[in-house]
Subunit: 208 residues, 2 copies
DNA sequence: GGCCATTGGATACCTTCGCTATCCATGTTA
DNA sequence: TAACATGGATAGCGAAGGTATCCAATGGCC
């Protein structure tokens, strides 16, 4: 298909598609001539994925590019790829440079006996958040963090269960990306509702 | 204290403080004269809170203003306030207008017997995310969402436990805000590490 | 083969957001 | 009283994400 059809079927303006091509979020189409290129269903899938990450979730373009890059580097087995995709996601909001003291995080990972890459961005993100909270007077040490981590582990089991039954490994990775990234606001919304409920419950218990 | 001292003790440039005053994120100081105002410790605390929400977490100014507004509207009991603060947080990234079909969310809340305000933004955020996932071919119905919600409930119990032992209700609410909002990236980082670990575990189990 | 709308590519521009810098009249302080 | 600081108003800046314009090369239709 041509770019105009790609635009029509995806709902994304042609100018925006050109922008994504420029930014390396979408691979170039097959060049038919100097001024003509053809796109296929893969491009359409990729475009929808990009719109989901950027438009729905609000990820910055640079982060999205990194994530998609991890997807393309797929060569070996599915779980290697999943580790790359799931573990390599940069959070992008917390200041991750000048890592304060990842010692707490390392100790936590060791205590849980988790198999997590030593340079995973998530480690830095976690350390950065803990440092911020500490300077704001909310300590939250490794001890009180442990139960949160155990709940995260059970969440991850649910996540991985969602990926069973998909044959194509690339499709598996794409779905993993969607589930990991798009589900985040949903999980946070659930947490907030649960907080509100729990607060009300304790309020009633304390007896107005 | 004067604005310059407020700036020095908080590390926030004077120009930025003026900006926050303009945007209604910081209450005006006590007017001493036409061109002089005095600020106190409350202002300093508030300023640090604002910096945490905007600078560390990356919340947009408008969302921050709403959150702080909820804090100021505090009149009654602590749990009412917590409900307001915890339940009223807008996610700001997902498109929340044109609510697709909150029926699933309503059913979920009913099934869990949660006491959540009917108009809580979290409901809309959740419904919006579910709708996005559905159009992207990742269904995720109420059934598969239920275990996530149960885990969120246990997370909320941990959250509320963190707030015990603080006397001042306003301080409690501020800490609740910090914990709810700043902990979000940390919880997501934990989830990603747990995903990576779980993927590696299943990989090893399947035998290379 | 000739003609004109369409395509892809390059470039410049636009809008929003979160600051930041400049001015200036008023006030404080030594 | 003179020099400097303060608060308020206003304008500008830089990044990010997207949009609009321009243009030569083409493809399709006759």
């Amino acid at each position: 298909m041509r770019m105009s059809e790609l635009s029509r079927r995806s709902g994304v303006p042609v100018a925006t598609i050109k922008y994504y091509l420029r930014e390396g979020l979408l691979p170039a189409g097959r060049q038919l001539s100097a001024t003509q290129a053809e796109y296929d269903e893969q491009h359409l899938r990729r475009l929808r994925l990009v719109r989901a990450l950027i438009g729905v979730r609000g990820l910055p373009v640079s982060t999205t590019r990194e994530l998609l890059g991890a997807l393309s580097e797929y060569t070996g087995d599915t779980h290697r790829l999943l580790g790359l995709v799931l573990g390599g996601i940069r959070t992008s909001d917390a200041a991750e440079q000048g890592v304060p003291e990842p010692a707490d995080v390392d100790a936590l990972v060791a205590e849980l006996d988790w198999d997590v890459h030593k340079a995973a961005p998530a480690r830095l993100a976690l350390a950065g958040t803990l440092a911020s909270l500490r300077t704001l007077g909310v300590p939250l040490d490794r001890h009180s963090l442990l139960p949160y981590a155990r709940l995260a582990q059970r969440t991850a089991v649910l996540d991985l269960d969602q990926l069973r039954g998909i044959d194509d490994p690339l499709e598996t990775a794409e779905r993993a990306l969607l589930l990991t990234v798009l589900l985040e606001p949903a999980l946070m919304a659930l947490r907030r509702m649960a907080q509100e409920n729990e607060s009300a419950r304790r309020h009633a218990e304390a007896g107005d």
